[in-house]
């Protein structure tokens, strides 16, 4: 952190701040209207994990997630931001329960949307049962809130990506915005390699990781609705855009999603690599997609035109 610069606007500061590099608190600070954030159960409450001491591991006062309310262009929002550097942003008992409580409130209020800034490796190993169950409760709470009319937007672009149960929660959201480093998957590269061998997935092949799980591929598939450059202002604008686009949720959304995913399997089920899928989408020189600058990529993705809108 640097000393506050008085002569630049919040938007300029947000534009020049990498979402990937920023902490959860900085992301919220710059994403929301200046000074509007109010935290629920902040670090001074010291609600740390009750389980890490069993493993003689250090705790964090907020257990790696910041939840609260704020304003986005003047309108109230509930927000949750995971800190991907603390235990990989993984879900533990306290960490998960903070998000569950926020979603249950959103369901009751029904009119205030929720932004979830994912940054997670999935379940926290040292409290695996509690973390797994927290994710199940969050998924249930997301769906109950959406059924009550709440819009839930996931923003994905952190260091730890959005893996494991985090990927499933993301799949439950109304819409997602993703940046290039925002990987979304269930099994991480190392997990696949450990279980299936390096021939199945070479986790050290970073180009393979990015094109299989990274934001560009997810955007081209239509798994994410908006692709943004890696800065907090772009995520803010994407959140505002998505809040304006998300329609109501109901049985029709799930039927449309069934068709969307079945169609994806029919089209690309035999593809071996992301480049094969992109080529099948009609992208010339698909192998150059990973190098495309954000603006050119966004134009390409918009031309391909796949989204999950009203089908998730």
């Amino acid at each position: 952190m640097t000393a506050p610069l008085k002569d630049i606007t919040p938007a300029e500061r947000a534009r020049s701040t990498s979402f990937y590099e920023a902490s959860a608190r900085t992301r919220l600070d710059l994403l929301l209207d200046a000074g509007s954030f109010v935290e629920f159960i902040g670090p001074e409450q010291r609600e740390v994990s009750p389980h890490l001491k069993i493993f003689d591991l250090p705790e964090q006062f907020d257990d790696g997630i910041v939840v609260g309310r704020g304003r986005l262009d003047g309108a109230p929002v509930f927000v949750a931001a995971q800190e991907g550097r603390f235990m990989g942003g993984a879900f533990g008992e306290v960490h998960g329960a903070k998000l569950t409580g926020l979603l249950r409130a959103a369901r009751q209020v029904a009119s205030i949307p929720v932004l979830i800034l994912f940054d997670t490796g999935g379940v926290r190993l040292q409290e695996a049962n509690a973390g797994e169950l927290a994710i199940a409760e969050i998924m249930r709470a997301v769906m109950e809130a959406r059924a009550a009319g709440v819009k839930i937007i996931g923003l994905i672009g952190g260091r730890s990506g959005c893996y494991g149960g985090g990927g499933l929660i993301a799949g439950c959201c109304s819409a997602l915005a993703v940046s290039e480093p925002g990987r979304i998957a269930v099994s991480g590269p190392e997990v696949i390699e450990t279980n299936r061998g390096v021939e199945e997935f070479d986790s050290r092949d970073r180009a393979l990781v990015w094109r299989t799980m990274g934001g560009k591929h997810r955007r081209l598939l239509g798994a994410a609705d908006v692709f943004v450059d890696d800065n907090v202002q772009d995520f803010r604008e994407a959140a505002l855009e998505l809040l304006g686009l998300v329609g109501p949720f109901g049985l029709d959304s799930l039927k449309a999603e069934q068709e969307r995913l079945a169609d994806r399997l029919r089209r690309y089920g035999a593809c071996f690599d992301a480049v094969d899928i992109w080529t099948a989408e009609g992208i010339a020189h698909a192998e150059t997609v990973p190098e495309l600058p954000a603006d050119q990529f966004i134009a390409l993705a918009d031309r391909i035109g796949r989204t999950s809108r009203d089908a998730r």
């Binding site: 902040g42 670090p43 010291r46 250090p58 006062f61 907020d62």
Partner: protein, 105 residues
Amino acid sequence: MEDLRFQHRVRARAGGTRQSAIVGVVASGNLEVLVERVLPDAECALDIKTAAIGFGEVWTAVIGDFVERYSPGGLRFSINDGGARPDTVSLRLAQAVRSIAENGQ
């Protein structure tokens, strides 16, 4: 994990009106510092939980320098340390004092 506790008499109250602030993150080689304005003006205290065992003397030196330089009167620092180097500790402590010295809640 090792718990360390330091208490110092200081010459002056820390500036600003904020009641608390938090900086840093708990990760390998990093630490978080929660600072709260809860003590009498002439006192400061630091409670440290560190993953690196046996560095009490280094902490004593780093904190002695910090208290001398910043005179953080009235502040209690609660630190979760993932095994940060002394320069990182000094940096975070300074950031914590700067953060709570801002005006606000």
